[in-house]
Subunit: 422 residues, 2 copies
Amino acid sequence: MVYILGLGHIGLPLAIWIALSGKKVFGIDKDRTKIEEITTGRINITEYYRGTPLKTLATELIRKELLIVNHRIERPGNEPTVFIVTVGMGQLREDAPHFSALLTLLEELCPLLMDEDLIIFRGTLSPGTCADILLPEIRKHKKRIYVAYCPETVQETSIFSELSTNPLILSAADEESYRQAEKFLQSLPFSSIHRAQSMEAAETAKVVQNIYRDVNIAFANEISRISSELKVTTNELLRLANTHPRVNILQPGPGVGGYCLPFALGFLLKSLPEGMKGDLPLSTTARNINRGKPHLVLGTVRKALKQDGKTIDTARIAIFGLAMKDYCSDTRHSPAVEIMNMLIENGAQVKAYDPLVPPEFPYRTPSFKESIKDADLLLITGKQPGIEIYIWEMLFNKECPPSIVDTRNIFPPSERTKLYRV
Amino acid sequence: MVYILGLGHIGLPLAIWIALSGKKVFGIDKDRTKIEEITTGRINITEYYRGTPLKTLATELIRKELLIVNHRIERPGNEPTVFIVTVGMGQLREDAPHFSALLTLLEELCPLLMDEDLIIFRGTLSPGTCADILLPEIRKHKKRIYVAYCPETVQETSIFSELSTNPLILSAADEESYRQAEKFLQSLPFSSIHRAQSMEAAETAKVVQNIYRDVNIAFANEISRISSELKVTTNELLRLANTHPRVNILQPGPGVGGYCLPFALGFLLKSLPEGMKGDLPLSTTARNINRGKPHLVLGTVRKALKQDGKTIDTARIAIFGLAMKDYCSDTRHSPAVEIMNMLIENGAQVKAYDPLVPPEFPYRTPSFKESIKDADLLLITGKQPGIEIYIWEMLFNKECPPSIVDTRNIFPPSERTKLYRV
């Protein structure tokens, strides 16, 4: 019996994955709408387990009573059990991570705990959070609770496979907590477990992993920006440079979205004393590049329209791709949505399309064809299923808007339209 | 028959590798001392081919007349042939790359060329160099010369294996040049050839590969700097973070040396118009971090001495590692040498040791033992063969200097000495 606390984009797949392994799972999320969506098979998370969509798996497992979802923790048995907390730190702004979601959760959880329960935190945490914030809160209740921290590293859109393949980093409050957590995790089909000497080491490693990605995406964005000046397309440059066995430049894009990468630097800075907050100039520059990318895209849209004698405030703009990353339905902190909102604020008429994002999403049109109808410009902000076919059909039917701004280097050179890359 | 022009750390191994494949090679370098060192088996380049050191291979191939070395180009035959130019751009400072070495070489080479000769440039070049500087120079001579650019990507210390395994990027002045160069390269045991659409694309890709490495080393240096504050050692942090399949943080060090990485950004900036030189903030910040690392190391040495009530101007300092990278004899632009020189300028008495660097190198002592005798501080700047044993013996014999400044995260925690990492 396992409790998963928090049924978001990570928590729900994890709950399903554990239930599929044969353990009975209680999935808890205080959002009643979400619980309703899960039970009725309407939850919109783009994950597949051996071809079956997550929402189908969820209803199937609920029917078999291997997965029980609820908006509050109910504890039927009298045995010590495992609570996996997938709730992370809250963020109002990139530089303002806070603990309120976790503390609210502990407020509900702690009175229900009994001796020898095991809590495993899996969210991304500012270094020091376990030892300084969470443990003292749990210890207040004077029960013998095992506490471990095992950061989640799976990537949205391939969670089910990465749950089985990504190595785990495990740390715990004490030796016995470590043993209990290790024993539990070894009972699931995870690949390998790497012990961290302290919870702070595990917290730092996780945050640094995210910053590393942020820095490398920023490098791709920076190189992409100057490549046109060097008379080489970004695609060609990356194809050639990445032939080197020690080089792996990532794909540039319209910015960096989601809950992980944009906030990682803020998490790290929060743990540093005031005098050291300037000691991360590279990571800070990277963050600024990625944070500024939507503005750069807006500038290119403006420039492209100007070439056609138009301005944003009267332009009709089609957007393809609203999700925060490719082949994904998650629009949280999506740079595409940020750019869309800036266009709207500047007076543009926007019709957006994303096949994975629900029809009720603001400004989403029912079809790609509808979005480009009479558009002055098409802005490509994401690679979603079918994008190649949409582009091909648009070119074939001669329905191309006069200008294309392509942030994903996916649109082919064509005489039918003016192509801008950014 | 192949000519290799320039017998440096890349050119000589390349000449030997081609000669080993059975082709007759003329190796040319205008430095007569180097030619003398090669013929007498005294050349100090740390490369091994299936266990045999480079200098032995060189004398063996010279004896068999498969390798002929000379300080000037002599052209005995009357057949078109291949000239591989390993000479690169010169650098007075990081931001001042120049073409003089290449132009001097072409001045000697061009009058000797005949129709259907093939020149393959292999050095790292500022984007545009082939088309704007080298080609016009060659074309002046009104001969039908095939010209190609194929940047070298092998890493010092593992050149022989990487010559066979690293993919090649190939570009040429025209279609026929490409065909000729491809045909020639395919006659050698290279792995794969990737065609670049233009010489500028190949030049840019090579420079960007180097900047990518520079950025990633800077990230390692940045993270290493703050890790002590986060109560996790750099080794532990990297070990944990690098368990992630999409994370590969490099090793921090005393700085970035050699002829490639420190100059790559300058090469790229040279090709950008004035108004775009500010568009590489990430790469520029990375360069500044790596360029500044020796000063940071100096600061840590100063701090460590101060803890012992000492100052640099009267301190005796042992340095282990002079080469520009691990397991290497190359001291060109070595950050270790830069730090050594700063220490000396500040009045320190320095005794350095590096088993791969020749005994006559300034301040190099005959043995490690000699270097640490009566030293106030040991500064570790490189991983060279035997370092673990030297450290172990030093600890075992209780000969540790009172303080250790370790830039390579190699010294174990010990009660025998005060350890500073940077």
